[in-house]
Symmetry: C2
Subunit: 392 residues, 2 copies
């Protein structure tokens, strides 16, 4: 094993330098205030959870987990997601809290990477969970809140892709009889591998009509909302047409419809979802910035069965997708330079300016190694030097 260089960091990890930190802090603060206005309460959970409890329930692939054995000899993981720890809290410390519960978080999540591919192993997520409300109005509120957060930070355009994992499962199971084939088709949808999907469909031992239906199903991805709903109407599959149709009307009431794409083939990364699922896109980049959906079975694992829905926004991706104008200006700094004799005046001046809301660096002239380089950092330099040197 070679010793790493002193400047090296473990795979996929990043430092956040002042400018990026400021942007991230201000976005998070906007989100915090807005989510509070909607009545969501923030909570925090530890970085480590037991692998057997939250680790397993989080449904993150084992090879993506940072997993090790703690001092008590029990396997632990670095928190790979926040929905599951929140489910644990709702089933324990908040067991007596009245449902519906509205909870929110800003948190670092950890997912191990195999190689340096630009994918961070540690990233921040802002999210909300609405627990104990089974109505589509709860799904609509969660999507509406997510869109609102996108809007207040200036993301433009905003696209929300909505699907329904209950429908996907039921629809495929109606047409495909082998459970393993159902699973593989679902995987191919998750990978958005249409070619692979069609190839597998062609090979299946099912009636020709079923194959046609499956291929038409894949084709709906390019259809608008009305045409997609028509497809559902023509391919009845329990009450899903009614449910999805009503939901579209509800989103219209929320003023969201023009931002929505309905994609029946949407299968998300996490497999605890049970109903409507969605992904958020926008701005400059082509991959999803946020995702979420309904998960009605997760809370049961933590001894408090309850329907729930929520979203999570990837802060790093959101920041990448925002236009430059969305970012706050770097607040300018003033330097106050003094020598031992003038420290009293310099202190008073600096304190006064700080009270006025100005960022003031108070600097002993003795420690300035390069006057020009020092001065270039500041809007102005106020000098309390009597012996010459730095001037105002």
């Amino acid at each position: 094993m070679t010793k790493p260089y002193m400047f090296e960091k473990p795979l996929g990890l990043r430092d956040t330098l002042p400018q990026a930190h400021r942007i991230s802090y201000e976005l998070k603060d906007l989100f915090y205030k807005e989510m509070n206005q909607w009545g969501y309460d923030f909570i925090k959970t530890p970085a480590l959870e037991f692998a057997e409890t939250v680790g397993k329930a989080s449904a993150i692939d084992d090879h993506q987990l940072f997993k090790f054995i703690d001092r008590q000899g029990i396997p632990v993981v670095l928190r790979p997601d926040m929905t599951t720890p929140i489910a644990r809290v709702v089933g324990s410390e908040l067991k007596e809290a009245v449902l519906p519960l509205r909870l929110a978080y800003t948190s670092a999540l950890y997912r191990a990477q195999k190689s340096e591919g630009g994918h961070p192993s540690e990233f921040e997520q802002v999210g909300a969970e609405l627990i104990g409300d089974a109505t589509p109005e709860a799904d609509a509120e969660i999507i509406s809140l997510m869109v609102k957060l996108f809007e207040i930070v200036g993301l433009d355009p905003i696209r929300i892709v909505i699907g329904h994992v209950g429908f996907v499962d039921a629809f495929i199971r109606d047409l495909v009889f082998d459970e393993e084939d159902v699973h593989t088709l679902r995987e191919l949808l998750y990978m958005k591998n249409d070619v692979g999907f069609r190839e597998l469909v062609a090979q299946l031992d099912i009636p020709q009509q079923n194959k046609t239906d499956l291929n038409q199903f894949i084709d709906t991805r390019s259809l608008d909302i009305d045409k997609t709903l028509q497809f559902m109407e023509h391919h009845p599959c329990s009450d899903y047409y009614q449910e999805v149709n009503n939901f579209m009307h509800l989103l219209k009431a929320y003023g969201l419809l023009e931002k929505i794409d309905l994609d029946l083939t949407l299968v998300p990364h996490l497999d605890y979802y049970t109903g409507f699922v969605f992904e958020g896109y926008g701005g400059k980049i082509g991959f999803s910035l946020a995702s979420g959906g309904r998960y009605n079975d997760l809370l049961k694992q933590f001894n408090r069965p309850a329907p729930a829905t929520g979203f999570g926004i990837r802060l790093d991706r959101l920041i990448e997708s925002l236009p430059m104008e969305a970012f706050p200006d770097e607040p300018e700094k003033v330097a106050v330079v003094y020598e031992l004799d003038t420290i009293q005046e310099a202190l008073e001046y600096a304190n006064q300016k700080r009270k006025e809301g100005i960022r003031v660096v108070l600097q002993n002239a003795k420690s300035i190694q390069n006057e020009r380089a020092f001065q270039e950092q500041f809007k102005t330099v106020k000098s309390f030097i009597k012996t010459g040197g730095l001037s105002i």
Copy 2:
């Protein structure tokens, strides 16, 4: 190995529920704004660092580290301190940044606990580092900023205990000739074990006068600043008397003197300190809330030799020590209850109220299981129900 219960968390880890989260968030936001006013820039570093680089340089005992082998087969640790990662950043990504540098952070730190003794394994620290300034004015600024943070959150009283590790080492080495004895005496000072210190001194093979001096040294802990300075004057030890005396005058200029205790026997937990060191106390509790000091040798390890000083405040301990009045009131929430027919009006009303700065929960009446329990959570409930049930 027994499987943990679903509600369990690994040893020493805590959840932060809404009320505690709000207090912590608001304190951190006050600190963020104040430190920015002083010209400090915030940065962030990853939760994981290599054990051989930052892990080793952080000078935290091995049994306190969360240590494991990552997927590349290299030992990593959960960040046990922030000063060392910041030193790494200053020696790498910020290599070209002009000194002096003023950096700040709010960060979770990780130190493994052996048993559930109320000591958390994960805790938040707020801190600042002033890098590239060797003058006592830099030490004074760091202490002054720390006191200011205590003041703005309402900590009262505030006591700062100041020592000097350079003096301690030099003074003991002048009187004790065996390096191992010097080390043990230093350990006993760190443990604040005066009895053990005196017992060891009695056994040492050194002149009687040296023993008297060492015992008088321990006695200085109970002396006021003037008497402590007199002790230093009568026991000359290179230029330390001058240095400490000047520093006290400087702290007077900063208006800090009445909050200061001078304790020559102070030996801090971390062993990278080289000069003035200090601990912050205050409010209701008897243990230290903050600590810091000068560390002129750490940056060298990261290929950018520079003098530096800094502090770190333990947020959990600070919160414990504040009076109830220091905490923000829980902002009241209003509930807006609707049914399917009235969703449009309810939405408009809720949005209007939120714009006015009121926290509004918008709730479909259908999902309220217990009307009374629901209502008790809110200051007022505005009902958009036409069919009876919840009233205003």
